[in-house]
């Protein structure tokens, strides 16, 4: 907006001329006194001067007499307020344009303020004109003494600041919007920065000259570089030119110019600070929000550890395969070994047991008492050794899953009685009492006859072995649902709580003065347990402690759960 004060001038005779509108009025005055020769020359000069000013002034100007009637009006006033000279000059200002100018604030200025002050600047008036709509105007008023006569005139310069206000308002709004935009831009950049810094993958952005623009915190951490030696540097120069990697050059200089996106570009490089690293590079070319410049965003994933894990996995997988092959081989070797061992041990045992039996039987002539006693020791030891060999083989077979059951319909009741008779000799020798409680209605069961007999014999012979003379042993059998429950009990040495686990490990011999003289392999119980389980039954041993006797409880399904 043009500042009227710029036009402030002084005429040659020192008359102060304030504004262009004033000059217009002055010109009018000059016209009025045109007849006065005394001032003609002077007036002529002023008129020309005032005219030239009026031609350059765009603000509407109006001059009023003391009755507030229009004396003169500038052309721009007519244009601006869409009024005609004939309906303007001589009119009361308030009546102009169908009384559009009857504005309370204008009345206040003209009737109250101006009579007291000769000058009033920037008096703001807002008014809704019927012809030109709502306008905001700045009024500058001057009371000027007419050069001739004592009358005064009021010079009113009207500056329409409606547009300026709107522009100012618009500017204010724009400024506020800019603030919001700037704030959200800040937020966006803060957000993207926080994203960049939150991402564990090192990120680096480069300009078109491959100089570093920004770097994520994780980049600094991962590659042990400092911000001050990074930003603005050529990427290849980073960390003492550690980044001058041929494969990276290829990606940035050859591949990216042709493609805007490149994923999982694998680069292996030996960094002097952090050693050999395998990285997956993901690159994007991004247009900058403003300007046509592109930046390159480079995400670096360190897959060194992952590769090592993969390699390790591969190695482990290979080792497992080798191990599986080796396991098959050793399993076969173990079976072969067991078969060989069994054969090799039996061959000398055949001589030991066979010949001592022939001697004991006195097939080729009588022995004296001591000879017979001693050869019986040989025979008994040989038979014990044979039992050991057989039980070790059984254990090995069960553990290798090679024990095959030959199932048949077994008359369990008679088998229980049969086995109890087998131990009858031992029972009577030790003066034990044996109690059998076998349910009358005990059904037949589907099981392996030899193995069931082995289970029962092992348990009953254990009961005999571990019960001191005069004690009691017993066996109970009854049906419970689809199973037969059998309990073999004794009043013998019992089992200490701390040995409850050990008794199933094999070769465990309860360490009591009594047990030392007891024959056995320590394999009878674990084999019995495994054979019961092989039949699909449960097996448990109960003892309240040393000297409190033992109860072995097991079950056998009536119908085998195993497919035959």
């Amino acid at each position: 907006m043009k500042d009227k004060r710029k036009n402030k001038e002084f005429s040659e005779d020192g008359v102060k001329i304030h504004t262009a509108p004033e000059r217009r009025i002055i010109e009018k005055l000059h016209q009025e006194i045109a007849g006065s020769k005394k001032t003609e020359r002077e007036a002529q000069g002023s008129r020309e001067f005032a005219e030239s000013i009026i031609n350059t002034v765009r603000e509407p100007l109006i001059s009023l007499d003391q009755d507030l009637r229009v004396v003169a009006v500038s052309r721009s006033f007519y244009e601006f307020f869409k009024v005609k000279p004939e309906e303007t000059v001589g009119q009361l200002i308030y009546d102009l344009g169908n009384k559009q100018w009857d504005i309370p604030r204008l009345r206040e200025l003209l009737e109250t303020i101006l009579p007291q002050k000769t000058t009033f600047d920037n008096y703001e008036v807002e008014h809704d004109f019927a012809t030109i709509g709502r306008r905001i105007m700045l009024l500058n008023a001057r009371q000027i003494e007419r050069v001739l006569g004592k009358e005064r005139i009021i010079l009113l310069a009207i500056e329409d600041i409606t547009e300026r206000r709107e522009i100012e308002k618009g500017l204010e709004k724009t400024r506020k919007e800019l603030e919001v935009i700037k704030k959200s831009a800040d937020e966006v950049s803060e957000f993207s920065e926080s994203v960049i810094n939150t991402v564990r993958e090192p990120l680096i952005s480069l300009d078109q000259d491959l100089r570093v623009v920004t770097v994520s915190r994780s980049f600094y951490e991962c590659f042990k570089v400092k911000p001050e030696e990074t930003v603005g540097q050529l990427i290849y120069d980073l960390g003492n030119k550690q980044w001058d990697i041929p494969k990276l050059r290829e990606l940035l200089e050859t591949i990216l110019p042709q493609k805007t996106t490149f994923d999982n570009y694998e680069v292996e490089h030996n960094f002097s600070t952090i050693g050999r690293r395998i990285m997956l590079l993901n690159a994007r070319q991004i247009e900058r929000g403003t300007g046509k410049e592109r930046i390159i965003l480079l995400a670096i994933e360190d897959i060194t550890e992952r590769r090592e894990i993969e390699k390790g996995l591969e190695k482990t997988h290979k080792e497992l395969q080798d191990l599986a092959v080796e396991l098959k081989r050793t399993t076969r070797a173990k079976s072969e070994f067991l078969a060989n061992m069994s054969h090799e041990l039996r061959t000398p045992l055949n001589s030991i047991n066979g010949f001592s039996e022939i001697l004991y039987d006195e097939t080729f002539g009588p022995l004296n008492g001591v000879q017979k006693e001693y050869v019986n020791f040989v025979l008994t030891s040989g038979k014990h050794l044979l039992l050991l060999i057989n039980q070790i083989l059984d254990m090995s077979k069960v553990e290798a899953g090679k024990m095959q059951l030959t199932l048949s319909d077994l008359p369990l009741k008679s088998i229980l009685n049969e086995i109890s008779l087998l131990v009858a000799d031992m029972v009577s020798k030790k003066k034990l009492q044996i109690l059998l409680e076998i349910a009358e209605d005990l059904p037949n069961i589907e099981a392996d006859e030899l193995r069931v007999k082995e289970i029962l014999y092992n348990l009953l012979s254990n009961a005999v072995k571990f019960t001191p003379e005069g004690g009691k042993i017993g066996m109970r059998a009854k049906q419970t649902d689809s199973e037969i429950e059998i309990v073999v009990w004794d009043t013998g040495v019992g089992i200490a709580p701390e040995n409850m686990e050990k008794i199933f490990e094999g070769f465990f011999r309860v360490d009591t003065p009594y047990s030392r003289i007891t024959e056995g392999t320590g394999l009878g119980l674990p084999i019995a347990k495994k054979l019961v389980e092989l039949h699909g039954g449960n097996f448990s041993v109960l003892s309240e402690g040393l000297g409190k006797g033992t109860q072995v409880r097991f079950s056998l399904p009536i119908r085998s759960k195993k497919a035959v």
Binding site: A339, T347, N350, I352, N353, F355, I358, D361, F364, L386
Partner: protein, 121 residues
């Protein structure tokens, strides 16, 4: 007339024990320490029963049995394998040989002769 038995075993102790047990039981006994001489002896003597070890120095007892079965002179002679290979694998090897039996070592001296007798018709 005495029953006649051929014992084929490379182990001298076994040969001696089985010979004693069978002789005490009234057998006439022939001995061979390997398969080929056993086969020759069988063709020559035509015993009532052949008692044979499975592991022999020149061939497996099962192989010797196959040769004996293919020869019409010996194809009908019962064969009783006396073997320390009592595990499943050992039994598998001889289960398809006709007119044959199995006694595991160590042998029961008290019923050995009776067992052998069962195989003679």
């Amino acid at each position: 007339m005495k029953k006649r038995a051929l014992i084929v075993d490379d182990n001298g102790n076994n040969l001696r024990m089985e010979k004693d047990l069978l002789e005490v039981a009234g057998f006439e006994v022939f001995l061979a320490r390997d398969a080929s001489s056993g086969i020759a002896m069988a063709k020559k003597e035509k015993p009532d029963v052949i008692v044979m070890d499975v592991r022999l120095p020149d061939m497996r007892g099962s192989e010797a049995a196959r040769i004996l079965r293919e020869d019409k002179d010996t194809s009908d002679i019962p064969i009783v394998f006396v073997t320390a290979s009592v595990m499943a694998e050992g039994k598998e090897e001889i289960k398809n040989i006709t007119n044959s039996g199995f006694i595991g070592k160590p042998i029961n001296t008290r019923n050995f002769a009776k067992e052998i007798n069962r195989f003679i018709k």
